[in-house]
Amino acid sequence: MRRKKDKAWYALFVLPLVFVFVTVVIIPFLTGIGYSFISWDGMPLNEKTYVGMKNFIRMFSDKRFLSSAVHTLFFTILSVTIINLLGLTFALVVTSKLRIRNAVRAMLFMPYLIGGLILGYIWKFIFTDLFKMIGEFTGLDNFFFSWLLNPDFSLAAMIIVTTWQLAGYIMIIYINGIQGIPEDVIEAAKVDGAGFWHTLIKVKFPLIMPSFTICLFMTLSNCFKIFDVNVSLTGGGPNNSTEMMAMNIYNEIFSLNNYGYGQAKAILFFIAVASITLIQVAITKKREVEM
């Protein structure tokens, strides 16, 4: 009798959330694998035909998709590096004994709270109209021109906006790591005559390895999946030169109506995100030192 009652309580507590979760995440994920083997234009009445692995083979001759993968990789590598360097520098400033540190932290973190979509629109104005104006005023028009009309500068613009959004967030995680270093370790290094750089590289860095793991994970997965900034800042242009993988998948499904083929790309995207982030975590975890 008691066990039956316990089971009823268990169901009452766990089932509602599990039910929502299954219908929103699990079923779509599993049926999504099925969709990746069919050809379908998204119209409910139109036929879905099974095409086997054809969707996956087709990707390798899809120039637009391949170039979006290259852009995404290039964008991710550069953004992750810059965001982490900047975030770490910010964190070192904020954890210093300077009086202004709280104000600095508050200001640098703010962009993170404004969504990627809005940030993209803000910067669109800066990179187009404001840059053109600065170019006309100063005569430096080979740097200050409408960046979003040039493929390379558009990609740079994407990197700048993403950095602006995430550097403050990454800073917060590094601050947490740095504040976790015991005071006596730093003191001991000082007594032994270690200078600023020596303490930083030989003492502080190894001790904040767990923060590196988290920050790299967060920036890698955020940058690889970038979408909102892409939509509002460049729209993928000029000439699809800044179309990232997430946007390519979106366009394939909802603009070109290739539901099956687009879903196959989405499955590959999942495999790519999962393997890249898991490999990174495995590598950086190994380097964490035990305290």
């Binding site: 268990y10 219908t23 929103v24 995440v25 993170y112 979509l117 947490n176 687009g262 999942f270 995100v273």
Partner: protein, 279 residues
């Protein structure tokens, strides 16, 4: 370091921070200018303070309506996520069997699935529920909230699970002996102790749901049900050239975020750090 050197360094850092927030300044000052004044000099402060463009932008974005929609979706989604996830996580921790372990593992493992991988089949599933069970899952705030709960579940269960594991069972046992049922034990004893995690979950979910664009853009098509990111996107789709109006619109969307930030800065910074560190 010498005193004057330190002062100079501080001035340089503050100058950098001001430069860093320059884009927000640009948005703000240009929201008060007419077209001519804006193109004459985009960096200068406005000559007159007029709220004309704000009123126009508010009308064109249907701002009050979308603000209300965003508020409802964010608050209700978070309330449900907090209630259901904390209950689930507690039961999973306190029931030491294979099923609980599996459920927890599946919650955690699915966190790595990108939204883009499930967006299309999700719309098909929701369409199926609408057509066959006659529950309006698409183009309703309720449907959007339902999907938000599904997507927020993993992270919240994960955070609560980690926290509850560290709480000793003895308090709960004492309450059970006193005749409290599980519901009473959870809401009277356990839930109040979870406050730090509840704050973290709420902060992370506010940032996510308030700014979420892709899911609402797929789920909502009706103009009257747009959230703020949706109405901003449609506004920019129509009026890209009228930058002064656009700037007023952007200021309107940023102001609530800044107010929220100023009001809860400490909690936000702490919550964001705690949410990331536990991953």
């Amino acid at each position: 370091m010498k005193k004057s050197g330190k002062l100079l360094l501080q001035i340089l850092i503050i100058a950098f921070c001001i430069f860093y927030l320059f884009p927000i300044y640009i948005v703000f000052v240009n929201s008060f200018k007419n077209r001519q004044e804006l193109y004459a000099n985009m960096m200068a402060p406005p000559k007159t303070l007029t709220f004309e463009y704000y009123i126009t932008a508010m009308g064109k974005m249907n701002f009050l309506r979308s603000f209300g929609n965003s508020l409802i979706v964010t608050l209700v989604s978070i309330a449900i996520i907090v209630i259901l996830s904390s209950m689930t996580a507690w039961m999973l921790v306190r029931t030491n069997d294979k099923l609980s372990k599996w459920i927890f593992m599946i919650f955690v493992a699915t966190m790595i699935i990108p939204f883009h991988t499930i967006m299309m089949p999700l719309m098909q599933v929701m369409g199926w529920i609408r057509d066959h069970l006659h529950i309006p899952m698409l183009n309703t705030l309720g449907g959007l909230i339902y999907m938000n709960v599904g997507f927020g579940a993993s992270m919240a269960v994960f955070l609560y699970h980690g926290f509850i594991k560290a709480i000793p069972v003895s308090l709960e046992e004492a309450a059970t002996i006193d005749g409290c049922n599980k519901f009473g034990v959870f809401w009277k004893i356990v839930f109040p102790m979870l406050k730090p995690t509840t704050t973290t979950v709420m902060i992370l979910d506010v940032i996510w749901i308030w700014n979420d664009y892709l899911l609402p853009s797929l789920a909502i098509s009706d103009k009257a049900r747009r959230t703020i990111p949706l109405s901003t996107a449609s506004f920019f789709g129509q009026f890209t050239i009228e930058w002064n109006l656009a700037m007023a619109g952007l200021t309107l969307t940023i102001i609530p975020v800044i107010i929220f930030y100023l009001a809860a800065q400490k909690h936000i910074v702490k919550g964001v750090a705690a949410g990331a560190v536990k991953l």
